[in-house]
């Protein structure tokens, strides 16, 4: 038998040296000197407003689902911060390859809220709006968007464009081959992608601890040769620093980065889920103490950057904006049945034109 080298540390697990970045603690108090851009507060107020709007938009979506006006909807309650940050920091001609819980980021990218509603209302036109630019649509099959992201980034490199891709995914998604294969490609080819893992601690009912045996999810980058970092995902200042640097780094030809933003899914997985079946209310209560909106609000109040009057105005304004989107959504007439056939191929084949006629005549057979 071999000498057992185990005790001597032959087999070591990497992990401990993943940096963790935070600026504001859960009480909204700075824990280190803020970066210069954060000092005049303008950008912070913008982030605050964007998060408040996202939260209201989210609340409304759930309300519509509950009243039969929308299908299954995945709330982003509690994880608004990463989206408003990357959404602000990306340039318009950068590309976002999102997952399905990215409404806050999509709004900042210019997507109409009514389009977001339309999508979750079961209408393909919700991914067609001009506001998307060249961004990818919501991606439902977990982690598959990561592969698209490296493809888009490769296209940029092939064409010598200084554009960047940001792709997001959940903690659960980091277990899936697509994510890991894409990460490996990004490391091997040094393409301009930022992988943003929104670790909200749950993949439906599977807690982070059961998803992966590593200390951090960021360190998935290690095996791909991609630098990695953890960041407080409820702290817009830290997110801004980390995502901003990653985007700039990528834009300057230095390749990909993996960012793990630590946050918490304060809501059910979707409106079809009941999280009380599998998690402790006490955990959720604690998580509420760390949530991003209140934290930033406290900071803004404490530093005279925000007032109750402004808050009142914002709430009214946001309610109005969201209500308008709701109405646009509700007033959208259904598609024509032509549309079910028209986009299968650039030119609709004879066989499909025949089937469309069948459908128009209420028939279905050869």
């Amino acid at each position: 038998m071999p000498t057992t080298l185990d005790g001597g540390g032959l087999f070591r697990v990497h992990s401990s040296d993943v940096p963790f970045v935070r600026y504001l603690n859960t009480d909204g108090q700075p824990v280190q000197k803020l970066p210069p851009w954060a000092e005049n507060g303008q950008q912070l107020v913008a982030y605050y407003k964007a998060m408040v709007k996202a939260r209201e938009a989210d609340r409304k979506a759930i309300a519509m689902q509950r009243t039969g006006q929308m299908g299954t909807y995945p709330s982003c309650l509690g994880q608004e911060a990463p989206g408003v940050v990357y959404g602000s920091l990306m340039k318009k001609d950068d590309v976002l390859a999102p997952y399905y819980r990215d409404m806050p980021g999509q709004l900042l990218r210019g997507v109409e809220l009514s389009d977001v509603y339309l999508y979750w209302g079961g209408d393909e036109r919700g991914s067609a709006g001009e506001g998307y630019g060249q961004d990818m649509p919501n991606c439902v099959p977990i982690a598959t968007q990561a592969c698209h992201a490296v493809g888009i980034a490769s296209a940029f490199r092939i064409r010598d464009e200084r554009r960047v891709v940001v792709t997001t995914c959940g903690d659960g998604a980091t277990s899936k081959g697509d994510f890991l294969e894409a990460l490996n490609l990004a490391g091997a080819w040094k393409v301009p992608v930022v992988f943003l893992i929104v670790n909200n601690q749950w993949a439906i009912s599977i807690p982070r601890s059961a998803q992966c045996g590593a200390d951090t999810l960021a360190q998935k980058g290690a095996g791909a040769g991609v630098p990695c970092v953890q960041v407080d995902g409820n702290d817009v200042i830290a997110l801004h620093e980390v995502i901003g640097s990653a985007i700039e780094r990528a834009r300057h030809g230095k390749g990909a980065v993996v960012i793990e933003a630590i946050t918490y899914r304060l809501c059910d997985h979707t409106t079809a889920d009941d999280a009380t079946r599998y998690r402790d209310n006490e955990d959720v209560r604690k998580a509420w103490e760390e949530e991003p909106v209140k934290r930033l609000q406290t900071y803004l109040y404490n530093h005279g950057l925000w007032s109750p009057e402004q808050e009142k105005m914002l709430q009214e304004q946001v309610a109005e904006e969201v209500q308008k989107a709701v109405e646009t959504y509700q007033l959208t007439p259904p598609q024509s049945i032509n549309d079910l056939f028209a986009y299968q191929y650039a030119e609709t084949p004879v066989s499909l034109r025949q089937q469309l006629e069948e459908m128009q005549e209420g028939l279905n057979h050869e």
């Binding site: 099959p141 899936k176 057979h365």
Partner: protein, 327 residues
Amino acid sequence: MSDDKKTLVEAVNLALDHALADDKDVVLLGEDVGTNGGVFRATQDLKDKYGLKRVMDTPLAETMIAGMTIGMATQGLKPVAEIQFMGFIFACMEQLVGHAARMRNRTRGRLTCPMVIRAPFGGGIHAPEHHSESTEALFAHIPGLRVVIPSSPVRAYGLLRSAIDDPDPVIFLEPKRIYRVQRQTLPKQGSRLPLDTCFTLKEGSDLTLVTWGACVRECQEVTRNLAKEGVGVELIDVATIKPLDMDTILASVRKTGRCVIVHEAARSFGVGAEIAARVSTELFHELRAPVQRVAGYDITMPYYRMEDHYMPSVGQIASACQIVCSC
């Protein structure tokens, strides 16, 4: 088994429960099958009852789930893996086609894959994209696999018990649209149904209506309506899609001379094509009317706001029946 009636998804749950109780080699695995009991509650309470070692929540990785299930099966376990929705089964394809379907043949019986992959499938529940597909034809084409689709609580119970017993890999597809629409008293605990025989749900001599899965409901309605008009429909629930029991179908069409096939999956290159081809060729002289298929259009499943336009309807099925009867 007690008298209380069960839905299809409850029948699945009960079949799993009894299989776990009867055979210590049976284990369950998948995403959210443990504490959460499955997103449709098909595995509800089973983790508490049989423990973490036998009801396993996995990380989010369908390729791995399929491959792991294969590995377990080669060790003589009888793993039953859940893929949360059939729309996410594609990442399993390499493992299922390349390994599960071949292990017995490749090793000349030395290693086998007594395993079941369960997945809810089909449209009609207003779910998001990728949650409504029917791609049974992809598996039906692969030698070495079995494909089984129940259409009632009784058949869900009996077929799932047989699928778990079966020494070969079974893709067990559960039509989620009818997970909870019907309650039935289940037969005696432990009763099995054969995996090689179609179910003739109603006898008739004028027309053979061949279907499976959720479409059985619409076909039953059409059958009842036609009965009122004096047309005797023989209604066949194929249920065991692969290997396909053509004998039952051919015997029926030999009698009726007419055949309509109904399925939710896209029409072209669907399972209906094989049945239509076989019926047409083998009963060339007996057929009184051309075989008709009523199926999904050859388009991507529409998002839910328009999905009703896609689904084969009672009206469409009735009109296809009319056509063949008027020949």
